[in-house]
Symmetry: C2
Subunit: 311 residues, 2 copies
């Protein structure tokens, strides 16, 4: 009975209209690294916008440094703030599944962001990035912009389903393009690992035309290794996520970084905005929204550059 | 280059800020029948809300009685109103595909609603109902609320992929429930056909515990046949879509119609709201949003009853 909360509030409203306000709890990982930092920035920015635009909407935002803290944050929101809806990016799937199930069973609307729970059908709305599209967008850019016979090296993330989906999308887009993938190893989404891996690639291959680093952190590591080796200008580097420094390079027409691929931390804004639409009755929003990756180019970089974001 | 429009407007804004307003075109089928009538109602209501809340958003709404008129409506919107985004529920897929492709190629954001185009990858955002969820929600209600051995008759829609998906979801939900499906024939989403089909079921089966009419129009036909046969009270009828009369029966605790399943015409509101979020830069909204069906019960019927809607 997903919408019980709305009915309950509407009924309350008959007797005491000041209580009509809806409260949305937002629980996300703390800003321990770049992408999460941007997640926090966008969550705060969206909550600010929505509170200003809608006097009837209240928000509780908590940031968490681990799964058990996140569970107690969420339980607190329910117990002390009587939230009508929860927007949550689970720190980990397993330990959050049962607690979020209990919240949903209690009649609270639940929106899960990006990291799915260990069991299907608990949340009312699921908002997530599109890993196939993430890889496919980079691969399509290569297929359309590199010459037949061009040589590419790839830095994959940590071995995982997410990484497999991204690489499958990338490879599907390259099919028939005549582009040669020289090597494809795991840089583990880590800047330092990527730096070492790129040094290895540079020593092994005298000709590299392009690097696909399946995450901007790895792209930064790769760029540093290329520069140290004095081979800047020989190859382009395409990362992914939408890190500020990368977007700035694109905007400033850096020839080494012509484009980037989004896996937007601003998806938390999408999730919060959609939840607000649902809670206020403006539109039906139960279901699954998979956010496609977009190609950031010099033409649109301004739209993806957030001056005040840490990432 | 999906977001070119936004960049272009941002640049224009540097020189002439009064031109900053974004214009969203909305093109939908005319209100020739119930569901489309509600579609029009929700589109108008949402446009009104968004125009009042956002002085920088303009809308052009056109309703169409056929595909060729829809093509010229859309071309007009681009030529004379210079729209930044288009929200379109295609009257038919094939004849709209190339014209909408041209609009997208021209840098206009495109949101396609419910009826997909004949070619993938044209639209920036796709918003649609969930046919599996539509059937599964009805089937789950039966599985959870009917006794082992209960006897059910089913009225399918017009033979189509949509109908197949709905029935597959329904059957999957019944698996292992011990519920017996006596018959499953096509009522073609038509009230009169459903009336005749229900007469046939009633004459063939002395015991029927529940009817699944996979559309509210068919449910209305079935209810009339049941009443005419004097067998009201013997069985429940579960339809689908969210027709006003059905929601009113649920709200008023009609024991024959305890629940309904949404396939919400208000999805046009979702599509317009999300497009507005994207155009205004509030959140990333490229991708695919599949709106799950919800169960309408006496507890939440008020949320699904729109006094001024024709449907």
């Amino acid at each position: 009975m997903h919408k019980t909360l709305i009915t309950a509030t509407a009924l309350t409203g008959l007797f005491a209209s000041p209580l009509l306000a809806e409260t949305i709890g937002v629980s996300i990982p703390a800003a321990t690294h770049g992408w999460a930092g941007a997640l926090n920035y966008h969550a705060e920015r969206t909550i600010e916008r929505l509170e200003a635009a809608n006097p009837d909407l209240d928000f509780v935002l908590t940031t968490t440094s681990g799964p058990s803290q996140q569970v107690s944050d969420i339980e607190d929101m329910v117990a002390t703030r009587n939230i009508d809806a929860l927007v949550v990016l689970p720190f980990e799937s397993e330990p959050l599944t049962a607690p979020i199930q209990r919240v949903a069973d209690g009649g609270v609307w639940v929106t899960v962001v990006d990291r799915g729970l260990a069991q299907e059908g608990i949340e009312d709305l699921y908002v997530a990035g599109d890993n196939d599209s993430f890889g496919r967008t980079a691969g399509t850019y290569f297929a359309e912009n590199l010459d037949d016979g061009a040589k590419v090296v790839v830095m994959r993330g940590i071995a995982s389903e997410v990484d497999n989906e991204r690489v499958a999308g990338f490879e599907a887009a390259l099919e028939g393009s005549g582009i040669e993938v020289l090597a494809m190893d795991h840089g583990n989404w880590n800047r330092d690992t990527a730096f070492g891996l790129m040094q290895d690639y540079l020593s092994r291959f005298p000709e590299i035309d392009a690097v696909w680093a399946a995450d901007d952190d790895m792209a930064v590591g790769a760029l540093a290794a290329i520069e140290q080796a004095g081979r800047t200008g020989e190859m382009i580097v395409v990362g992914g996520a939408g890190m500020k420094e990368m977007v700035a390079r694109i905007r400033d027409n850096d020839t080494t970084v012509p484009v980037d691929v989004t896996y937007p931390p601003a998806m938390i804004s999408t999730a919060i905005e959609m939840t607000a639409l649902g809670v206020s009755g403006a539109a039906p929003v139960s279901g699954e929204f998979i956010i496609a990756s977009e190609l950031i180019t010099a033409d649109n970089a301004e739209d993806f550059y957030f001056e005040d974001s840490p990432y």
